[in-house]
């Protein structure tokens, strides 16, 4: 068995483990790790192909190796983005209480300039969390959301909701 074959088999195993983990786990962190295992398997296959493609003089084919570098960067960036979203979600859940899998209730606000932080960068639960709390209420319908919205929204950003945007303004109207 050549080393290239051995590495290929290892890579197949890693891909299998990664897919298995990704499909079976619900926990986001485990899925991110599984994703990286899947990525490791893929990159190892590139390594094996590079070794197999060794021609006279060269220890290995440089093209797959160049691709692996890009692939690693992409996988790293994806993992970082995923982790930052997980952190953001955890911060929001800590603020709001677990929202539960309340599903795809689309926010009624359509105003991107006023919904709170949309860059996926993980920031501490700082400046605009209050607004996010308010928004999460605005997504669902029905009057029973109004009190919660009022509490969370008013508590954090220290300016009247009416001055913000239309949906929030209306929310406070409904609350009256």
């Amino acid at each position: 068995m050549t080393s290239a074959t051995l590495f290929s088999l290892c890579s197949a195993a890693l891909v299998g483990i990664g897919l298995f983990g990704l499909l079976l786990h619900q926990d986001p962190l485990r899925r991110i790790v599984a994703l990286n295992v899947l990525g490791a398997g893929t990159f190892l296959l590139f390594g094996a192909i590079a070794r197999r493609g060794a021609v006279d003089g060269l220890p290995s084919d440089p093209v797959p190796q160049a691709m692996v570098i890009t692939g690693v960067v992409v996988a790293f960036a994806g993992s970082a983005l995923a982790v930052s979203i997980v952190r953001r979600l955890a911060a929001l859940d800590a603020l709001d209480g677990p929202d539960g899998p309340d599903g795809p209730d689309a926010p009624s606000s359509i105003e991107p300039s006023d919904d709170a932080p949309r860059d996926a960068s993980a920031r501490g639960s700082g400046d605009s969390d209050g607004e996010v709390g308010g928004k999460s209420g605005a997504g669902s319908t029905g009057v029973d959301d109004a009190p919660r919205r009022g509490v969370n929204g008013g508590a954090f950003d220290g300016r009247p909701r009416r001055s913000s945007i239309e949906p929030d303004g209306r929310a406070s109207m409904e609350g009256r």
Binding site: V15, T70, S128
Partner: protein, 595 residues
């Protein structure tokens, strides 16, 4: 035009700056938007938009007139080692569509921003808004949406006074960065000519699309974004695995090179591995395209975003990964066993049409209904595949390709119009419920009409682009003997009619008497009720394009070189006279099939 006489196989490099600009300019605009503050960020994107529209149309015109694709050999390194960008007819057509829709969305976002700023600028609580507070961009005449970015770019600078407000400022700047990134990534996807550049382009697209889903900042939106990101990354890895297998067996990444290496008669290629690679890469891209068993991430992600982001995601982003699948299959589709896989893809597409439409029918939220309709319409994109790989029948393949492209393009316009219209309807109704839409017909008849027109295209009523797409797809599926696919296409049209009728009936109903919509309308500040002519015109314009694509879309069959896809016509040219289904008279295609 001497185009027909020009040999199809000799690519020209004269237009190389055009296609480089089409990728570099949006990326530069994205970088500028990162560095600049909010208003400058939107100005950077809005100013580059008309240039990009011009570049896209110029590239399309060049491909059309020279009859050969535009190539750009990066750094003068030829393919086995280097990278070639190649804009053929399919790619330029998609770039024109992207440019048109993205600039319409940019204008819409700018108008939304100005309204938001105007409303923040007025004294809180005052329900009387003087004319000065109503947004200025209502001035441009309705009707033209693609030519407008320039003046809007200027207007965006002259907006009313704004109160310093850090969070919206950052959010808005983020949207402009993402819009430009999506634009650049899509353009790169459409002109990439090797498997690895396609991978890079798709990753750029994913990393721009995921934050678009996050834009609302709510926990449901973040959950949807996380699910989308994890699945999309898994899809990328599967695609990369396929790329590794192709490279391992052929030693080539360039699509043209691969096509030569596996051409009939060369028996060196290991076909089994190639089939596996094709299946892996296609599966990976299917995750991103959200074909049915892998669709679960799409409705929450698309429905939870702000309307301009939803429009980008639903109209354009899913088409990027679909386009990669198309490229893969046009190159590798004829490996033994490929036909079976193509039929499996079409079967999944059929399930998507029925399941997506049926689920859309049951939605209570308007934006979710539109998102599920995207799931259904994506199914149509795959119905074409069995005919596409029918090597023995090049005319069928041409028809399937044309139907698929037309479906992608008309759905892009229709869905962009519908998501933007849905955004305006929901904004006005105050909440995203179909039964809260009562009175919308009376209050905003033009938006209502735009939504309906977009819907007619989805249903496939003539003369919409959707009608011709479905007609071509019907012919293609019957041509390969798949009558069940043809029936599904018809049933999908009926179901689309049913779920659209639900929305239209809700809009036509009287405003409900219970609290909710009525009170919301009464309570909404006057600025929200003020006429919103720019946004209305944009939505109506997009809907009309999707409707009248049918008059423009008939690509002469002989000019659509399927085999190696060197050219086809930019399908969005609106001034072309209608040509009713040109007869399949293309011995030309057959000649091309045997290189």
């Amino acid at each position: 035009m001497s185009a027909l006489a020009a040999s199809v196989g000799t690519p020209s490099t004269a237009g190389a700056p055009l296609i480089v600009g089409l990728v570099a300019l949006p990326m530069a605009a994205a970088l500028a938007a990162v560095l600049l503050r909010r208003r400058a960020a939107s100005a950077a994107v809005l100013l580059s938009a008309p240039i990009l529209v011009g570049l896209a149309f110029a590239a399309a015109a060049m491909v059309l007139s020279t009859g050969s694709p535009i190539e750009c050999v990066l750094g003068a390194w030829k393919p086995p080692l280097g990278i070639v960008l190649r804009a053929d007819g399919l790619g330029t057509a998609m770039m024109v569509v992207t440019a048109t829709i993205a600039s319409a969305v940019a204008l819409f976002a700018a108008a939304t921003e100005r309204r938001g700023a105007a409303m923040r600028g007025t004294a809180p609580g005052s329900s009387l808004n003087d004319a000065g507070a109503t947004p200025g961009p209502a001035d441009p005449p309705p009707g033209d949406h693609s030519g407008g970015p320039a003046e809007a770019g200027g207007e965006a600078d002259g907006g009313g006074e704004r109160q310093p407000d850090a969070a919206p400022e950052r959010a808005s700047a983020t949207f402009w960065v993402l819009l430009a990134s999506v634009w650049g990534a899509l353009n790169l996807t459409f002109i990439a000519n090797d498997l690895f550049t396609l991978f890079v382009a798709l990753e750029l697209l994913t990393f721009a699309a995921v934050p678009l889903v996050c834009l609302a900042g709510t926990p449901p939106a973040l959950r949807a974004a996380l699910r989308y990101l994890l699945l999309a990354m898994a899809g990328s890895m599967l695609y990369l695995l396929g790329v590794a297998l192709v490279y391992g067996s052929l030693g080539a990444l360039d699509l043209s090179l691969i096509a030569e290496l596996i051409a009939p008669g060369t028996d060196s290629a290991p076909r089994g591995v190639l089939l596996l690679a094709l299946v892996l890469a296609t599966t990976g891209m299917l995750v991103k395209t959200a074909l049915v068993p892998l669709h679960a991430w799409l409705p929450p992600a698309h429905a939870g975003a702000p309307p301009q982001a939803s429009a980008l995601l639903s109209a354009l982003v899913v088409k990027g990964s679909w386009f990669v699948i198309l490229r893969l299959w046009l190159t590798l589709g004829e490996v033994p066993g490929g036909r079976t896989v193509a039929f499996a893809l079409a079967a999944l597409g059929a399930v998507a049409i029925l399941f997506g439409s049926a689920t859309a029918l049951r939605q209570r939220s308007l934006k979710l209904l539109v998102a599920w309709s995207t799931v259904a319409q994506i199914g149509y994109l795959f119905v074409a595949f069995p005919a596409l790989v029918a090597a023995a029948a090049p005319t069928l393949a041409t028809e399937a390709l044309r139907g698929g492209m037309l479906q992608a393009i008309s759905h892009a316009f229709a869905k962009a119009a519908m998501f933007l219209a849905a955004g305006l309807l929901v904004e006005r109704a105050g909440r995203d419920r179909i039964d809260a839409l009562g009175g919308a017909f009376r209050r905003m008849p033009i938006i209502f009409a735009a939504f309906a027109i977009g819907g007619l295209s989805l249903m496939g009523l003539p003369p919409s682009g959707g009608f011709w797409a479905k007609w071509l797809l019907l012919q293609a599926t019957i041509g390969v003997g798949a009558w069940w696919l043809a029936l599904t296409i018809l049933a999908g049209g009926v179901l689309a009619g049913a779920y659209l009728l639900r929305v239209l009936r809700a809009c036509g109903a009287e405003a409900p008497a219970d609290l909710g919509a009525d009170r919301a309308v009464v309570a909404a500040p006057a600025a929200a009720i003020a006429p919103d002519r720019l946004r209305t015109a944009i939505v109506l314009g997009l809907a009309l394009v999707s409707m009248f694509l049918g008059f423009a879309a008939m690509v002469p069959a002989e000019r659509c070189g399927v085999r190696r896809l060197l050219r086809s016509e930019p399908i969005t040219q609106l001034d072309r006279p209608i040509e009713v289904l040109p007869p399949p008279s293309t011995p030309h295609g057959a000649a091309e099939a045997a290189p």
